[in-house]
């Protein structure tokens, strides 16, 4: 496959196949380049079209697209690492949050009395009836 780079009115045009590169990586790459370039992204089927223009007015050429592709590879690697380490990151975060839970001391817990420790007849007896006996 031959890559087509075209420069018109100091704007570099090239395309990226979205089947080969994830959209999130392309967008992240574009974000890195907006400091020095004006970037416009559009679509043509599965092809993402990139228009790049330098902010300082310097002429653009194919090497600018090459820089973009290199950074794109870097971002794809980051996406893969992000996806591959998703489970372990969730595990570490879950464990860290669990350790921050407040622990209640065993002495602070109010123990409920055992039913066998009291006699229901002593409690339910009428007070006046007790006094009459005295």
């Amino acid at each position: 496959m031959t890559r087509i780079f075209k420069v018109t009115q100091n704007v570099l045009h090239f395309s990226i196949d979205t089947k080969a590169y994830p959209m999130s990586a392309i967008l992240k790459t574009a974000y890195i380049f907006i400091e020095k370039y004006y970037i416009f992204l559009s679509l043509n089927g599965s092809e993402l079209l990139v228009d790049m223009k330098r902010k300082d007015g310097v002429l653009v050429d194919e090497s600018d697209a090459g820089e973009f592709y290199n950074e794109l590879l870097n971002q794809i690697l980051r996406v893969h690492i992000y996806q591959n380490t998703k489970n372990i990151r969730e595990l570490i975060l879950g464990r860290a949050l669990h350790q921050t839970c407040i622990e209640i001391e065993s002495s602070a817990i109010i123990e409920t009395p055992d039913e066998s420790s009291f006699n229901i007849d002593e409690i339910a007896e009428d007070w006046f009836a007790q006094q009459e006996d005295i």
Partner: protein, 73 residues
């Protein structure tokens, strides 16, 4: 001069487009003229001289806003 651009929903989230437009209102009114299945059309209400610069800045800003919702480091 046609001062209208098409933004693709597969690239830019609609929330990012709306946020960017609201941020650019003090600079230049931008209208959502048409929304279809894949595209959102934005029309810039500014002079021809200003249009290119505002459009370029707007597109860069849109890329920055779109990246906010992406959380991989």
């Amino acid at each position: 001069m046609n001062k209208r651009i098409a933004l693709y929903k597969q690239i830019y989230p609609i929330q990012a487009i709306q946020y960017s437009i609201s941020s650019f209102i003090p600079v230049c009114p931008i209208y959502l003229t048409d929304i279809n299945e894949n595209e959102v059309y934005c029309e810039f209400d500014c002079s021809n001289d200003e249009y290119t610069e505002i459009r370029d800045e707007f597109c860069n800003y849109l890329i920055a806003v779109s990246n906010r919702s992406d959380h991989y480091a």
